[in-house]
Amino acid sequence: MTLREIVEIVDGKVLCGENDLDRNVLNGFSSDLMSDVLTLLDEDILLITGLSNNQAIRTAEMSDIKQILFVRNKKPNKTMITMAIEHDITIITTTYSMFKASGLLYGAGLSAIY
């Protein structure tokens, strides 16, 4: 599934990484626990999270995850967006809950890791 399709499905806004919307993503993983994300071996992942702070971007950077969907209207701040741009991470936000966003994306064919 492309990032562009993901944005459409969750009625999302793209805050940075607009040029990478044709990138394909295979898996989704929803969590607010960063150590949980750090156990994942796969990298072809959309991280879906309600945790909007620097550590969410850091965790993606360390795990080589290139796209994050922030749910429930969590607004990443300027520092987070600057960090994301530096590491080629695309940030998408949605007003949908983690449950709704995950359900819609799973239903549309984004795979689960476990």
Partner: protein
């Protein structure tokens, strides 16, 4: 090559900046991505532990052609029951730490899984010194 950094306690704004700097160096040295990933995940967990659980500390990185050694030291308060602390799910993280997205009790087991050799020297009311070795498959 030898690198040395200090890490401040409770500073969640910059937690991870040392791991980020070391990751950049490893990439420049063309270390295989799979090795970079396990080294950096283990290092980042240890760096966050300094920020979350200690009074502050240092990170040292020693690079040679076939191996990377990391020494993560802090000034205490130490871990009284290391076996318990290594158990997945065990955490004494404060509410503040949990709000930062940490406190799952997965960090130390993540570190163990990702490193080739792990030695932890700690006790109650003492510093914690974590030594990790990563053997590289190809020369870096």
């Amino acid at each position: 090559m030898h690198l040395n950094y200090s890490v401040k306690a409770r500073d969640f704004t910059s937690a991870g900046s040392v791991s980020s700097a070391i990751k950049k160096v490893l990439k420049q040295l063309n270390i295989p991505p799979a090795d970079i990933k396990r080294i950096i995940v283990a290092l980042y967990e240890a760096e966050v532990n300094i920020v979350a659980h200690s009074y502050g500390g240092t990170i040292e990185c020693e690079l040679s052609h076939d191996r990377i050694e990391l020494t993560i030291s802090d000034e205490g308060p130490g871990i009284s029951d290391l076996t318990m602390a290594m158990t997945e799910g065990y955490s004494t993280a404060t509410e503040e730490v949990r709000e930062m997205g940490f406190g799952a009790g997965m960090g130390l087991s993540n570190i163990k899984k990702n490193s080739d050799v792990l030695a932890i020297d700690t006790a109650a009311d003492s510093p914690t010194i974590i030594h990790m070795t990563f053997n590289l498959k190809q020369g870096g």
